[in-house]
Symmetry: C2
Subunit: 145 residues, 2 copies
DNA sequence: AGTTTTTGGTTGACTAAGTCAACCGAGAAT
DNA sequence: ATTCTCGGTTGACTTAGTCAACCAAAAACT
């Protein structure tokens, strides 16, 4: 039974992403998934930096740099220089960014609702906490590493 | 709490894939993830077809066609024509395919073990069954679809 | 002070994954 | 016999993710 873990996971995110994307498009959001994840970071962290995003999402810094470039081009975020530190940049949502995140939140909610239709809150919470435990286990360095 | 679902999932497969890849490389397996998933299909389904893989893994048929091409090139699988139906192909593992799948199974086991170190079998099984339920919910067409 | 190291970020070049549409030839249906 | 469907292939493209080289600002180190 437990050998289905990998496949179950893989198929789940595939469908999850698909549903998110579909719902997003229906709401007129044309931004890629990873960009939305980054936007969420910037939303939650005041004066967010590229490194913050990279660490929080576990993405390569090059990937983050490119995402930020896109988001700046699309005017969803703005960059200001830190007064005390000249190399790190402070990212914040623009008006347009705040507006799109409102809609993203809706999309999130719809998808989550659909996905957990037949499940209890307890089941979902167990699921999430198991997921977080597995994540921790995976990232924990092994003795022979 | 349940709003972490998306992030938790995303990070989990990210790390899961990463660990799988790393362990695979350590075992001398240089085949991409999706190819391994396809190989598993071919292993489990006697006289597997491209459509079988596509349906089972939820992949686009073009993607499957390309994966099969690669696997044929690498001589992990072989194709024979069906005697009664001339357009569908029957795929099976070669000797090399069987051999690599042995090692893949090891990699799978190691990764799974690491990932579920601190968890009980019951927790894992609940996790999987919740994942499968969510998958079903996502793929269930909505009334207003 | 001056030099090395670290840090935050950018770019190039690439692999892997996934999507969409057009297409082909073989069967089945009409 | 012609149309329709089916299994598969290809082209062209977007999104993800990785790795290494690089640059300039800023700490750290004698």
């Amino acid at each position: 039974m437990t050998d289905k873990l990998g496949e179950a996971l893989h198929k789940l995110i595939h469908s999850y992403k698909g549903k998110m994307k579909q719902t997003a498009i229906e709401s007129g959001i044309i931004v890629p998934f990873a960009h939305i994840r980054a936007l969420k970071c910037i939303q939650h962290i005041e004066d967010c930096s590229a490194t913050d995003i990279s660490k929080r999402l576990g993405l390569d810094k090059s990937q983050v740099a490119r995402i930020i470039k896109d988001l700046l081009n699309d005017h969803y975020i703005e960059k200001k220089q830190s007064p005390n530190n000249h190399r790190s940049q402070l990212l914040n949502l623009t008006e347009a960014g705040i507006e799109i995140m409102d809609r993203v939140q809706q999309v999130d909610k719809i998808t989550r609702k659909k996905m957990s239709e037949t499940l209890t809150t307890e089941q979902i919470e167990n699921f999430i906490s198991t997921a977080e435990t597995m994540l921790k286990n995976l990232n924990k360095p092994t003795t022979q590493d």
